[in-house]
Amino acid sequence: MSIKQKKSMDETNITSTGNSISINSGDDRYYITNNEKKDHYSMVLPQNIDIFSGILKKAKNIADPQIYDYVLQILLSLNNTLHQINQTDIIKNNLSKLNLSIMSDESVLIEWNFENFRIGFSIEPNLSESSYYVVSDDKISGAYSSEANLLTPVEVDSVIQNIINFVLRNT
């Protein structure tokens, strides 16, 4: 498979890095927010497509501010794209939750795992080496496919649009 083919808010800003995107908490939950467009981006997604449970709290532990900002850009793009699609045509898929790991080399790996395919975003201390991958398998036919590409900030929204379309077609 190839992606090319185929509530209320607590105003306390927990981990602001000075950018307009931040992680906030309220009602025992964490929210990703664009402070300039709070009403739009702070929308809470329906449970079946709320892929952020747990990950935002982990993201607060990222020490490198540049990596942190890049991670938030990716999470916000995922959130916004899902929200926009869901407004047009309600998403009925049950989507897996994201996982975030801070690696020993200080890179951050965001994983989105499904039964037969996996997606990952690797944000590197040298931001220009950041990348994403899509791997899939068919254990019956033994067919594996994979692709890995560098990911620049200007490409994030278009890459995530393609990835979400891929996910919604295959779940």
Binding site: N99, S101, M103, E111, N113, V135, D137, Y144
Partner: protein, 145 residues
Amino acid sequence: MEFPDKLIRGIANKDFLDLEGRACAALFQFDDVARVDDDYMEASINWFDDEGALTEIFEKRKETGELQFKSGAAILSRQILDILLISHTGKGRLTYERNPEDNNPYHGNLLLVKGLQKSVRVMISGQIAMCVERIMPLENKQSAD
């Protein structure tokens, strides 16, 4: 050299599992420094020759006395891994070995050739994670057969 049907990777903490309990690519990070003799980077495993391989993982302790693999063990199918290897070994990227140690006869390594772009290394870790058949929680030690 003969290898059993399954291999085991210890899970040091729950961050290596996603909320659905699947093994993450992060579990299969390779050492940063490559071996001098053959330029491979290692990711340590145990070969599942018998139940002792699992016991070794579950009972392994750090120098502090703390259990090393508190979140259990991932059991991988060598057959499925071999299918993956076919797509990579042609390029000499990925292989495995036995590497018994004095106190661990089951020990071996997944081996990834050095010099690959980080993006490719991360992708390969994601593929290896897909070879995991089951997760054995520490509190639920039982046969993997």
